[in-house]
Symmetry: C2
């Protein structure tokens, strides 16, 4: 096994390539500034670029050129941006990448519409796959996007439903099943599967990739949930403990509900039963304090490290037989990065 190196410089380079392509697709529509300004806003804030980077590198590792995967990577970045915009409206979030969310800047209506617009531009980018590899493979790539879309809205619906119905009898397996749908499909499975399809010209076996993608995406989401509690706004770019205020069913929350004494558990469930706007900062701080005292954050971090070990093992299964390449090394190095990152 190659020694682990820091993937962040290559991540930044891949991300920049994809972001530029995404911005080009947006600019090439004949839209007015009324659409282009809100739709282009998040793209201009530098995100991690993780999803398109994973797609571009996987395509290279499977023998393709990074240009072959560029329309798909741009579409992934555009759709990711569309989902961030809608997510921020749905969660009433205030900060994204260190600046006010789109609906705070342009109003809710323009934000929802900008999200729709970004999704339309993403679908337009996928049309370029026809010319690159013909109808059959382009159709398979397209089906991956459609499947991802179905999984993501289902995961989002379930998470919102749990919050609305105040469902609290949930275990880690429910959490993992939720994030498989709401996070892994669009964050890791789609980029990996599309990258492999494009790079191998349709010959790659997707099942080993799917296992790897699940573990990699789960490691990512668990770290994201932890960062939401312990991260600094400066690095993380979102409001700290926002997930708690929103009542998100994270591993930490599920651990606390299982570990807390009955009176403490009643306080937690009581907070979750309130409408979001009526949850006070004191109550949020109280639950955060309970999580600290019951070791819920350590539990989630340890859980995340276990998932990352499974990701490292399944990486070998998915990528092991491919020729060595810097792209392959980059994907391998993303595993420890997922549990270590501070943004």
């Amino acid at each position: 096994m190659t020694a682990t190196t820091d993937p962040t410089p290559r991540l930044a380079a891949y991300g920049e390539t994809a972001r530029r392509a995404a911005a080009d697709y947006l600019a090439r529509t004949d839209a007015s500034p009324y659409l282009l300004e809100p739709a282009g806003d998040y793209l201009a804030r530098s995100g991690k670029g993780l999803r398109p980077a994973l797609c571009l590198a996987t395509s290279e590792a499977f023998g393709g050129s990074s240009t072959a995967a560029l329309p798909s990577a741009a579409a992934i970045e555009l759709l990711h941006t569309a989902m961030l915009v809608h997510d921020d409206v749905e969660d009433e979030s205030e900060l994204r990448r260190g600046s006010p969310t789109l609906h705070l800047r342009y109003g809710r209506a323009s934000a929802i519409n900008a999200g729709d617009g970004l999704a339309v531009v993403a679908l337009g980018a996928l049309r370029d796959n026809q010319a690159l590899f013909g109808s059959d493979l382009a159709g398979r790539v397209w089906s991956e996007f459609e499947l991802m879309g179905r999984r993501t809205v289902e995961g989002q619906a379930r998470e919102l439903g749990w919050q609305r119905d105040n469902v609290v009898d949930l275990g880690p397996e429910d959490y993992l099943d939720l994030i498989l749908q709401k996070t892994c499909w669009y964050t890791t499975l789609l980029p990996l599967r599309v990258g492999a399809l494009v790079g191998s010209q349709g010959r790659a076996d997707l099942s080993a990739l799917t296992r790897f993608g699940f573990y990699l995406g789960a490691a990512f989401q668990i770290r994201d949930d932890v960062l939401n509690l312990v991260g600094s706004t400066e690095h993380y770019g979102k409001e700290v403990a926002g997930d708690l205020r929103e009542g998100k069913r994270t591993l930490m929350l599920l651990h606390l509900l299982a570990a807390a004494a009955p009176a403490e558990r009643d306080r937690v469930v009581g907070l979750l039963a309130l409408p979001q706007a009526r949850r006070t900062s004191d109550q949020v701080a109280d639950v955060l304090d309970l999580m600290r005292r019951h070791g819920s954050i350590e539990f989630a971090e340890e859980f995340g490290r276990g998932i990352a070990r499974a990701a490292a093992a399944s990486f070998e299964e998915a990528f092991g037989r491919l020729p060595d390449s810097s792209a392959k090394d980059f994907v391998r190095d993303l595993v420890p990065y997922m549990v270590r990152r501070d943004r």
Copy 2:
């Protein structure tokens, strides 16, 4: 020319066929009730079914079977529903088809996500076109949907931008250009163009259809705007004068801004300058009264009748050379229906 008959029974039948197909596509996803319930809610409220009916009938008139256009008609109905859901959140509307809007029933987050889910299911339905007519024609149909998507979000962005910036120096030509984008593409142009492509197996000339679709869609939207002011909630199913409260730039509003005395105009512009939540019912009633006194509603109705005459003339250009059929008669009869309907 055939005598005009009432198209509403056939409209209901076509609409029911498409709605059933749309509901089937939704049910065939393996989604949970958390997604299916909000996503299926508007589909179960009986809408007019105008858009899919126009697609199915045009396909028949151009020589195709109505089954050939069914996936496209279902996708049109699903996308229309997705847009209604997002539109209602964007406009903070309260009533849709006589019942509370989706965000009032399920919360804003679930409504936005249900709209996204409906759009994903619509795109999935279009995959069936591959098996029906092969990649080339299926690709052309797909491009029509993508073009429609771009036009619609652009129109929506422009309308919201005019409201946000309180743009008032607009004439009827600006209004027509706006509704070409925000309404005509998805209401008439897409159904007509896709129906003709499918029915003629790609041979139809789309330019005459595009002119007809523009006039037909404009007649529809002008009537919609008038109904918003003079319709009964019972028939129309939305809150009366909601457009005025939202500050929509309708023909009536543009006419009033041009016809009002300076002091009256200042009152209108003053209302529009307020944030929507601060516009009072008295102010809305005052502007509605000014419209009545200045003949703004009659102006829009007369304008709509002129547009309908242009639609009737361009119908002959677009459909005249096709063999007579009940489907062709149905499309012709939609022209007078557009300016006469009360829902």
